[in-house]
């Protein structure tokens, strides 16, 4: 999958992993079950309004707080194809790379994208296109090392391939 294409669901600053997947559901580690509670404490309508392939956009420090990998797992399992943010909290960033959830840092794109816009992300070039507004942005490319992990679709396959 070299491209993501979908409608945008947009959030603000400091979306923490407690609202992405509340701890009361962490007695499960089943991705499908986690997905049914994704974003519940921030946006109780999220699962009703999202469609598989949609793109999540957020402002700064997305995924801050707890290191729970259940957070990117829940986002990926409910069908979000990519997360674009101004910045990511570092543990979330690692976790997303490690489980193969595509993420991109691009403050300009976040500024230029509204909730509901149609957006395409080309992971090879890092180009983010807002099809609704006819604008495009260049996202921060991954370092080569991380590109290899992503190309293997996660750290487990990367280690197995070595």
């Amino acid at each position: 999958m070299n491209k993501a294409n979908g409608k945008v669901i947009k959030y603000g600053d400091n979306v923490d992993t407690d609202v992405i997947i509340p701890a009361r559901y962490l007695n499960s580690s089943d991705p499908k079950e986690l997905a049914t509670h994704c974003m519940e404490d921030l946006d109780s309508n999220f699962l009703n309004r999202m469609h598989p392939g949609d793109i999540m956009v957020a402002k700064k420090n997305f995924g801050c707080g707890s290191s729970r990998e259940h957070a990117p797992i829940a986002i990926k399992a409910c069908g979000i194809s990519c997360v674009i943010a101004e910045t990511f909290a570092r543990i979330f960033y690692r976790n997303a790379v490690n489980i193969g959830l595509p993420i991109i840092e691009c403050p300009e794109a976040v500024e230029g994208i509204d909730d509901g816009d149609e957006v395409e992300v080309d992971f090879d070039s890092g180009i983010i296109t807002n099809k609704t507004k006819g604008t495009s942005f260049k996202g921060q490319p991954f370092p080569e090392f991380m590109q290899k992990i992503i190309a293997c679709e996660g750290l487990v396959n990367y280690i197995n391939a070595k």
Partner: protein, 420 residues
């Protein structure tokens, strides 16, 4: 070019003479940690790897602490998964109920974290061990799995912010007030991807428990790690708790920092973080309105150590919690529990009208043992006050020191220890 303390530890563990900020390295690990929430995911990921068991059964610590003693059947299954993995792989440092404690209180106490170590843990508060001069940082479960399998982890070498702590802290100012002050100043992403290196003559006035609290909350400023220089107080602590030999690193004179922030500890006040971010801080004298509360929690990986319990008990001794206030005290480990019992602190808490729990992370993350109902308010010595963190999404958490928490329990509203 000189290196920071963190960079020196990372360089040594990557087999390099020097590293620079931004460089990607593969580092050898001295310890890999997981708990009952993160380990099952890691164990499942490790099953998919083509590896024969763990890299070193002595360098893995598995600490069920979040939902134990098991809070429900699903949690029990998670704990069982961790227990069976530990048995199968003959993990030396698996801590069953009865020996366990809150992971970040337990591991230093057991001597598993010493100066110069590189430690990863599938828990964001793994940064706590910077207090003993180790590089330690939180990761997710897949990183934990890779760490258990290979004994290595990849890191981007961080740049650093230097915090120069000066002078003796003012009365009632603890490690918690210092770190809340810092987070209030730089924000919850103020140290994103960076090391927070603490230095200065004020450090000699900080107990190890204060330092654990400060390093513990580096993550709440977005930091990759928080780290303290290894002084005599630290070396004494390591000697008392570990058979392992510490390796002492210190920052080069010409180390580069993104910024240097000086803090005069003598000017600080008890500080409270208001909902719903740890950066929403107010000093106790800035709080003019009455904030009435329903519950007080004293405990967690941030503030469940002896210093914390002693300060709280000192304030609560001979007094009663206000009518309708639920005071929950959670010693961080079994050893702390016993010491607190022998010193009479537990009696003080119970006579004041509080309850004392076995070590658990429970209420901090809204798991169990103190979940909040709609619109309830809690003063807590824990580390996060995000929406819904301790229960209902309309509940509110006010982060504070054990002294402020104890005083607030007596007054039934946020209060200064000076008022009781």
């Amino acid at each position: 070019m000189g290196m920071t303390m963190t960079q020196k530890i990372l360089a040594a563990h990557a087999g390099l003479d020097s590293v620079v900020a931004g460089q990607l390295i593969m580092a050898d690990l001295d310890l890999v940690l997981g708990n009952d929430i993160t380990s099952p995911v890691a164990i499942h990921e490790m099953d998919k790897m083509n590896v024969e068991g763990v890299f070193n059964k002595d360098k893995i610590a598995l600490v069920p602490d979040h939902f134990v003693p098991n809070k429900d059947i699903k949690s029990a299954e998670h704990c069982k998964c961790v227990r069976e993995f530990a048995r199968k792989n003959e993990i030396t440092n698996y801590f069953e109920v009865g020996q366990m404690g809150i992971e970040h209180a337990l591991l230093p106490e057991r001597g598993l974290t010493v100066a110069g170590d590189v430690i990863i843990g599938a828990d964001s508060h793994t940064c706590t061990y910077g207090a003993v001069g180790a590089f330690s940082t939180g990761v997710g479960s897949t990183d934990m799995a890779a760490g258990m399998a290979t004994g290595k982890a990849w890191f981007k070498v961080p740049s650093a912010i230097k915090f120069v702590l000066k002078n003796k802290p003012a009365k009632w100012v603890s490690g918690k007030d210092i770190i809340l002050h810092i987070i209030g100043m730089i924000g919850v992403d103020g140290a994103l991807y960076k090391s927070m290196e603490f230095t200065g003559d004020g450090i000699k006035y900080l107990s190890m428990d204060d330092r654990f609290t400060i390093a513990n909350m580096a993550i709440e400023a977005g930091g990759k790690n928080g780290i303290f220089p290894v002084d005599d107080i630290c070396l004494e602590y390591i000697k008392d708790h570990s058979d392992r030999k510490p390796v002492v690193y210190s920052a080069d004179e010409d180390a580069e920092y993104d910024s240097v922030i000086e803090i005069d500890l003598s000017t600080l006040e008890p500080t409270v973080a208001f909902p719903h971010l740890p950066e929403n801080t107010k000093t106790i004298s800035e709080i003019k309105e009455d904030v009435f509360i329903d519950q007080v929690v004293i405990g967690s990986c941030t503030n469940g150590r002896m210093d914390d319990l002693r300060v709280a008990a000192g304030i609560l001794k001979g007094k009663k919690v206000a009518d309708g206030i639920r005071l929950i005290v959670i010693p961080g480990t079994q050893k702390i529990y016993l010491e607190a019992m022998e010193e009479g602190l537990l009696r003080t808490f119970i006579e004041a009208g509080g309850v004392v729990s076995t070590p658990t992370c429970g209420p901090c993350l809204g798991g169990y043992m103190g979940v909040l109902a709609e619109n309830e308010k809690c003063v807590s010595t824990t580390n996060r006050n995000f929406i819904g963190r301790m229960g209902h999404i309309s509940s509110e958490i006010y982060l504070a020191s054990p002294a402020v928490a104890a005083a607030s329990a007596i007054k039934g509203k946020i209060a200064s220890p000076e008022e009781v």
